[in-house]
Amino acid sequence: MEKILNPEALDQKIAECTEKLNDKLAGKGGKRAILVCGGTGCLANDSQPIFDKIAEELKARNLEDKVSVTRVGCFGMCSQGPFVKILPEDTLYCKVKPSDVERIMTEGIEGGKIIEDLLYVDPVSGEKIVHQSDIPFYKKQQKVALHGVSTIDPLVIDEALGCDGFKALRKVLTSMKPQEVIDEVLKSGLRGRGGGGFPTGRKWQFAANVNAPQKYIVCNGDEGDPGAFMDESMLEGNPYAVVEGMEIAGYAFGATEGYFYVRAEYPVAVARLKNAIAEMRKAGLIGKNILGTGWNFDVHLREGAGAFVCGEETALLNSIEGKRGMPRPRPPYPAIKGLWGCPTCVNNVETLAQIGYIIRVGGENFAKVGTEGSKGTKVFALGGKVNNVGLVEVPMGTTLRTLIYDIGGGIPGGKKFKAIQTGGPSGGCLTEKDLDTPIDYDTLVARGSMMGSGGAIVMDEDNCMVDVAKFYMDFICDESCGKCSPCRIGTKRIYELLTEIVEGRGTIETLEELKDLAKITKNNSLCALGQTAANPISSTMANFYDEYLAHIQDKKCPAHVCKSLSRYYIDPEKCKKCSACARACPVNCIKGVPGKEPYVIDQSKCIKCGTCMGTCKFGSIIHE
C-alpha cells in the first residue's frame, strides 16, 4: 500500500477499488465470488476451517481465476451461521460445516446446482429460500452503520476504499470548515448510539467552543451490555468506517489525536482494528499532513481490562489514564475537561460508523429516515428466545413487532412471547401491550425502558421475570465500581431482597423496600450505572407485579425457574423403576429399588438441576 499524497490520488484510488470490488461482487467476466463470514460468532463455529478449505479446494481444482473467496465480517443472522454466500447469484448457504465444503465445490460451484439442504428455512412458512435478499430477516433492514460489514474483507484497505471508504474524509478535509461539519451532523439529528442518546453535533459543539491547545476524540468500544455485540461486528467487519468517523469528528471540533478503547474480551475486533489503523497509516490517511492538506491526526488503541463500568465515559477516561475505572462527577463534562484534563468527546462505535454516511449524503437526507426525535437507523442485537438471533439494522420508528416477528421470525418452539428487554442492565422490559411501539429514544423511555446500546433480548413464558431482575442486579453488583454508597451498598441490598423473594422468604414489606431502594439508587448515584441499576426491577415490577406476588404470597414461581420454589417429583404411577434417573443424579438423592419400588427424590438433598428429568425416557418426572 503506497502513501496517498493528495485528494486527487485518493479519488483515483477510490475509483479503481470501487470498480474492482463491484466487479468482484457482480461476477464480472464470469468470475464468481464466495464470501465466508468471519465474525466472532461464526469463527467459534468453525468458519475459519470452512474458509481455509474453500481456498484449498479452489487451488486444488484450479479454479482460482474463476472463483475468488473472501472472509468478510458478519452476515448478521448469527443463529444460522456459518454462512457461505455465492455471488453474483446471491445464493446464501447457512449452518455450513467444514464437511459441506466438498459438496459446495463440486455440486455448487462446478456443478452450478443449488444445494437445497444448506438453504435457509423460513421458520414460519417452512419454505427454503435461495437468495439472501429474499429472506425476511434482511428485507426490513437498512444498512448504514453496518455498511460493508458483510461484503468486504476487513483486513484489506482496498476493499474498504471500494466500499465508499474515505470519500467523506476527503470531502471534509478539502471542502468543509470544521463548523460546517458540526452543522451537518446537527442537521442530521444524530443521537449517541451508545445509549445516552445525546445529540452528537451538540457534544462536538461544546468541545469546539473551548479554546485549548490539545483536544481528544475517544471512541467507546467497551460494549459491555451482556447480549450486545453490535460494535463488535462493526469493528470486525468494517473498522475503516469507524476510524474515518473518528477522524472527521476530530476535524470538526479540533482534536488531533484519537483513542480507541475496546474491551479486551473482543480480541478479534482488536486485531482487525489494529490492522486497519496500520493500513491507514501506511496509506497516509493517519499521521501528518493527511492527503497533503496539512491536517494531522494520530490514532491510538487501548484495550479495556474487564470492567463494565468503563463503558461510562468518565470511567473510560480514567481507565485510559491508567487508573481504576471509577467515574468522575460531572460537571465538568468531558467536552470541557476530559482526557488528561483536555476537552474530549467520547463517541460510541456505532455513532462514528454513521458519520461517513452523513457527510456523503448530507444531514438533511439522513434525517429523512426515522422519527421526529430519533433520526437514522439503529443496530440491534436480537437475542434470547427468538428464531433469528443476530444483528439487525432498522430505521428508527420500526415497531417491536416487526423486529421480533418479521425480522426475528417469532418465538421458537411455539412458546408464548412474554417480554423483550432493551437497554441491558440499565433498561427495562416491554411487553405484549408495547409491541406496536415505534422504536425511538423517547418512546422507549416513556414505556419504562430505554434504547441502550442496542441489545434486545426476547423472553418467553419459560422465563421468570423476578429471576431476570435478580440476574441483572447480580451483574450490577459485580460490576459496580464501589465509589458511591447508593450504588455500592444500595444495589447489594436490592440483590439481597430479590434473593429473599426467589427463595420464598419475601413479604409485601420486601416489595416496599425494593421500591424505596430503587428510588434511592436512581436519585443518589454518581453515574448512570447506579442511576439506571434499578430499571429492570422497576420495569418488571410494573409489568409483572402478579409474578412477584406469586413468589411472595403463594411461594410459587409461575415459570418454574426459581429452584427454591419448585420441585422435581417422580410420579410413582408412571415410574418404570429403571433407575436411570438415580444413576444420573449428581448428588445421589434418588432412591428406589430397580424393577420393584418406584424411585423417590429426597427433596432435602435435591439441588434442582433437572438432570433426572432430562434422563427419564418415560416422562415420569414432573417439574412443578
Binding site: P329, P331, S480, G482, S485, I489, G490, N523, L526
Partner: protein, 601 residues
C-alpha cells in the same frame, strides 16, 4: 471577584461566581452536611452522596452533589432554584447516610472516635433511622501490627481522604482502594500492615479520617499497668502538645497556651514527676550544634540534616539510605530526655533505672515506633522511653479522671534537675524552629557572641522549602528548611546528585512541623463549623503563634544559657559530643531497611 445571583429556597444571594454550590451555600449560612468533602473540594470525589441538594427548574428537580456543582451553572436568572430542604433532598441525604450505616461497625460507644466521629455527627443531622437497609456487610480488614497506626475497615466509609493525604503531604501514597464494588476496601498494597510497607507512620492519614477506621495505637493501658506494678512513672511533654491540647476541651484553635493547665492536669494524674521535653530540646541543640561545628571545621559530611522527626527518619531509611551519613546522630529530644532520666536523674535520686517508666506525650504517631527501636535503649538496654501517648490520648486520660480542665490553675513543671528550658525549645514544634534554635547556639559557639536579631524570620513560614543565609566568622552558612516529605525530597535529591549548596538542613515529617503532627487534636470543619470556613488554611499558623509567643516571653532564649543544661554538662556529660554524650544521646540508623519484608505466616 465576579459575582452571580443564585436562588436558595426562594431567596436570592449574590455569591462568588467561582464557587461550588456547597461553598456558596456555606458562605451565606447554609452548612449543607457533608462527609467525604475535604479542603475545598481538592479531594472531593463526590462519592459519599451526603451533600446532595435538589436543583429545580420549571421542568422538575434533580439531585446533585453540591460539593462539586459550580454555581456558575445555576444562575437565578435562568430559573434555577437550589432546594436544600425539599423532601426529595432531605430523604436523599438521609438515605445515603443510612446505606453507609447499614454497612458500618455498630459499636459506636466503644469506638476510639466516640465524640469525634463525622459519620456519627452527620447521622444525627440527617435524622438517620435505626436499622434501615439491614443486610450483609463487607469483609473486614484489620491491621493492628504497626506501633503507630492501626486500621479497621469495618469503620471505613471509603471517602478516600487518607489516600489523597498521603500523596499530598508526603508524596508517597501508601494507601489505595483495593478490589471493586461491595468488596472495595482501603489498605496498603496487598492488604499488608503499615509495618510491612514503606510507611513513615506520620499519621497524616489518621488526622483526616472522618471515622475510627484509622487511628493511633493507644498506650494508655500500658501506663496504667506500669503504675499498678509500682514503677516510678515520669511524664514529659513535647512543645507542640501545649499549643493544641486546649482544643480538646472546648477552646478555639490558637486561643489558649495550655502549658500551665496541662502541667496541672498531669500533676493530678498521679505521675511521679512531670517534666518538659523542652529541656531535652535544649540538650539536642547543644549536641547538634557541636556536631555541625565539628563537621564544618573538620571537613565532615555536609549538609548536616536534623534528626528529631522519626517520620522523617523512617523516610530516610526507606527512600534515601544514601543520605544517612548526612543525618545528625542526635536522638530526638524525648529519647534524649528518657536516657538522661534513666541515668543522670536516676543516679541523683538513687533509683534503679529498671523501675523507672518514662512516658512521652507527643503530637506524633511515629514516635510510638521510634520508642521501640533497639537503637534507642541507652541505659542497661532499657528503652529510653517506655510509652508514647498522643495529645489526643492525654486528653482522654484527663477526661477519664474527671479532671475539669477549664477550672485548672496554672502550674509549673517539676524543677528537679530537668525543669528548665529556654525559648529556643518550644519553637521545636514548628517548621523552622529547630533551625532557629540551632543557629542561636552554633553562632555563639563559633563567635562567642549572641545571635541577633533573635527572631530569624527567614526560617519562619509553613509551606514549601525555605532557605536562609547566616554569616558566621566570614563563612556564609547556607541553611534550608523543609517539612513534609514532598518538600524534603527536593533537598534530598540535590544531596543525592551531589549538588546541595547547604551546610545545614532541617527536615520535619509533617507539613508545618509538629503542630500538625499525626497525634494532634482533629481539625474537622464539619464537626466544628464555628471555627470558620477557612480553618484548614489557618489552624497551623494559630498553633505556631502560641509557640512563638512562648519563646518571646522566655527570659532566656538560647539553649546554651539554660542553667540546668550547663549543670548537666558540668556534673555529668562533660561536654557536647563527649563519649558519654555519644553513648546516651546519640543513635544509629538502618542502612538496608526492607520496604516489603517477607511476612512469616
Amino acid at each position: 471577584m465576579e459575582t452571580i445571583n443564585i436562588n436558595i429556597e426562594g431567596r436570592i444571594y449574590a455569591v462568588d461566581k467561582s464557587m461550588t454550590v456547597l461553598e456558596a451555600a456555606r458562605s451565606v449560612g447554609y452548612n449543607i452536611p457533608t462527609l467525604c468533602y475535604w479542603k475545598g473540594g481538592h479531594n472531593s470525589l463526590a462519592s459519599c452522596r451526603v451533600c446532595l441538594v435538589e436543583i429545580a427548574t420549571a421542568r422538575g428537580g434533580k439531585l446533585f452533589a453540591s460539593c462539586v456543582y459550580p454555581v456558575a451553572d445555576v444562575p437565578a436568572e435562568k430559573g434555577f432554584v437550589i432546594k436544600i430542604s425539599s423532601p426529595m433532598a432531605v430523604e436523599a441525604r438521609r438515605a445515603s447516610v443510612e446505606l453507609l450505616l447499614s454497612n458500618h461497625n455498630q459499636d459506636c460507644q466503644a469506638c476510639v472516635k466516640n465524640g469525634h466521629c463525622e459519620l456519627y455527627e452527620v447521622a444525627s443531622i440527617v435524622g438517620a433511622r435505626p436499622g434501615a437497609f439491614k443486610g450483609s456487610k463487607t469483609e473486614v480488614h484489620k491491621d493492628e501490627i504497626a506501633p503507630g497506626i492501626i486500621r479497621d475497615s469495618s469503620k471505613c466509609i471509603l471517602c478516600g481522604r487518607c489516600i489523597e493525604r498521603c500523596k499530598e503531604a508526603q508524596g508517597i501514597g501508601i494507601l489505595g482502594f483495593e478490589k471493586r464494588g461491595f468488596h472495595t476496601f482501603v489498605s496498603p498494597i496487598a492488604d499488608r500492615s503499615f509495618a510491612h510497607v514503606p510507611c513513615i507512620q506520620c499519621g497524616q492519614c489518621v488526622n483526616v479520617c472522618p471515622t475510627g477506621a484509622l487511628s493511633e495505637k493507644r498506650e494508655i493501658t500500658c501506663i496504667d499497668k506500669a503504675k499498678a506494678e509500682g514503677k516510678f512513672v515520669v511524664v514529659q511533654t513535647a512543645p507542640a502538645v501545649r499549643a493544641a491540647l486546649a482544643e480538646e476541651f472546648g477552646y478555639k484553635i490558637g486561643e489558649l497556651n495550655a502549658t500551665g493547665k496541662m502541667v496541672a492536669a498531669l500533676h493530678r494524674l498521679g505521675f511521679d514527676r512531670v517534666f518538659d521535653t523542652n529541656f531535652a530540646a535544649d540538650l539536642t541543640i547543644m549536641e547538634e550544634s557541636q556536631e555541625l561545628v565539628n563537621r564544618i571545621s573538620k571537613g565532615g559530611v555536609l549538609p548536616q540534616i536534623t534528626s528529631c522527626s522519626p517520620g522523617w527518619i523512617n523516610y530516610l531509611e526507606y527512600y534515601y539510605p544514601q543520605c544517612i551519613p548526612n543525618v545528625s546522630t542526635c536522638k530526638s529530644p524525648h529519647e534524649m530526655e528518657g536516657a538522661i532520666i534513666k541515668s543522670y536523674f536516676a543516679k541523683a535520686h538513687n533509683l534503679d533505672p529498671k523501675n523507672i517508666y518514662v512516658v512521652s506525650v507527643m503530637p506524633c504517631t511515629a514516635k510510638k515506633y521510634e520508642a521501640k527501636r533497639p537503637q534507642n535503649a541507652a541505659v542497661e538496654g532499657l528503652p529510653d522511653v517506655d510509652a508514647v501517648i498522643t495529645t489526643r490520648e492525654l486528653a482522654a486520660m484527663i477526661k477519664r479522671a474527671g479532671i475539669m480542665f477549664r477550672d485548672l490553675p496554672e502550674e509549673e513543671f517539676d524543677q528537679d534537675l530537668l525543669g528548665q528550658y529556654t525559648g529556643a525549645a518550644p519553637i521545636f514544634g514548628v517548621t523552622g524552629g529547630v533551625m532557629e534554635a540551632a543557629l542561636r547556639t552554633a553562632y555563639h559557639t563559633l563567635t562567642g557572641k549572641e545571635f541577633g536579631p533573635i527572631d530569624f524570620k527567614a526560617c519562619r513560614g509553613l509551606d514549601a522549602v525555605k532557605e536562609a543565609e547566616v554569616e558566621i566568622n566570614g563563612l556564609k552558612v547556607k541553611v534550608a528548611i523543609a517539612s513534609g516529605m514532598k518538600n524534603a525530597k527536593v533537598l534530598l535529591d540535590q544531596i543525592k546528585e551531589g549538588k546541595s549548596p547547604y551546610h545545614f538542613i532541617e527536615i520535619m515529617g509533617c507539613p508545618g512541623g509538629c503542630i500538625n503532627g499525626g497525634g494532634q487534636p482533629f481539625v474537622k470543619p464539619n464537626l466544628k463549623p464555628e471555627e470558620g470556613l477557612d480553618i484548614l488554611d489557618t489552624y497551623r499558623q494559630k498553633r505556631a503563634d502560641i509557640l512563638y509567643s512562648i519563646d518571646e516571653k522566655c527570659a532566656i532564649r538560647q539553649s546554651h544559657n539554660n542553667p540546668d543544661i550547663i549543670k548537666v554538662y558540668k556534673d555529668f556529660l562533660g561536654e557536647p559530643c563527649s563519649e558519654l554524650s555519644e553513648e546516651l544521646l546519640h543513635t544509629t540508623y538502618v542502612a538496608n531497611r526492607e520496604k516489603y519484608p517477607e511476612i512469616k505466616k
